[in-house]
Amino acid sequence: MASLKALKIRIGSVKSTQKITKAMKMVAAAKLRRAQDAAQNGRPYAERLERVMASLATRAGGPGASPLLAGTGKDQVHLLVVATSERGLAGAFNSNIVRAARRKAEELSAQGKTVRFYIAGKKGRVLKRFFPTAILADRDMSAMKVASFDDAKAIADDLIARFTAGEFDVAHLFFSKFQSALAQVPTGIQIIPVPLAEQAALKDVAPAAAAVTEYEPDEESILADLLPRNIAVQIFRALLENAASEQGSRMTAMDNATRNAGDMIKRLSIQYNRARQAAITTELVEIISGAEAL
């Protein structure tokens, strides 16, 4: 059995670990509320933009439309944009996103497609281990405290430039969708070319009175203006969802850690008290037997 002193030190160390995990949980809870608000606030813009995109795309999305909508006509090189967080200690948050991306990559390679990665966020860099030659770019996001639209736009501009340069044909975006503090769903969506099926579905929901709407300039120009913006908005939403998911995931993980530490302290305390009691008993037996011998 471990000595009394060793047990005491052990209990002390678990206690300070518990303090840290507890603090991290509280911080995550506070940040989660803010991240959730941010995600909520971003919704009206995205909804309105999507509605307009839907009605425009069906009217102006014929042949000769922008390649961002119609695609390059090829389906060979797939780019996986993987958005992760900058920090760990958030449960399985990052590994879930990376796993979803890896699965998609393997599926695409099995179909004979070329797969490239675009990493946004430090924790996505583990992909370099699995696909050392397929990393197209690794974007440093460490300067970003709160996801702003400018960050998303910078990524979108970079992607569009690479798309125009013919570096890839299809782009997918991987992030974690926020459902609740307990549930975050790793999700992959296609962002380039802008998927039409989704928009057709949207159009049924909002059959805008587009027939009489006047456009200035014409539909095609508005659409060409909106397409890059739509991609930036998609990325921005992913970043916001990711931020909320990260905090939610961290909160849950740290709550578990705090509880485990509590259990451990309880167990160690019992062990410590038993050892102390045993030591007292031995001492007493020694004194009594010493007295009897006299």
Binding site: P44, V52, F149, E216
Partner: protein
């Protein structure tokens, strides 16, 4: 009945209120929207958005960058990338 005016940025819904008239810097020229305007859609250039809360008062100005404006039966919606 006044015009329902909404100003939205990717970060948040900035305005949602009833106003008298709004002047929007469209790509092909400024245009003003009053209530009952025909359905209309335009991209906007960087410029000043003027909001007239009533017919006589001074306009309130908001600088906006990048985006587009949509007028439909519900009112005017301006989606801007940046304000201020």
């Amino acid at each position: 009945m006044a015009l329902h005016f909404e100003l939205v940025t990717p970060e948040r819904l900035v305005r949602s209120e009833s106003v008298h008239m709004v002047t929007v810097p469209g790509t092909e020229g400024d245009f003003a929207v009053l209530e009952g305007h025909a359905p209309f859609m335009s991209t906007i250039r960087d410029g000043i958005l003027s909001v007239y809360t009533n017919a006589s008062g001074q306009p309130e100005t908001i600088a906006i960058r990048g985006g587009f404006a949509e007028v439909n039966a519900q009112g005017l919606t301006v989606l801007a990338e940046h304000i201020g």
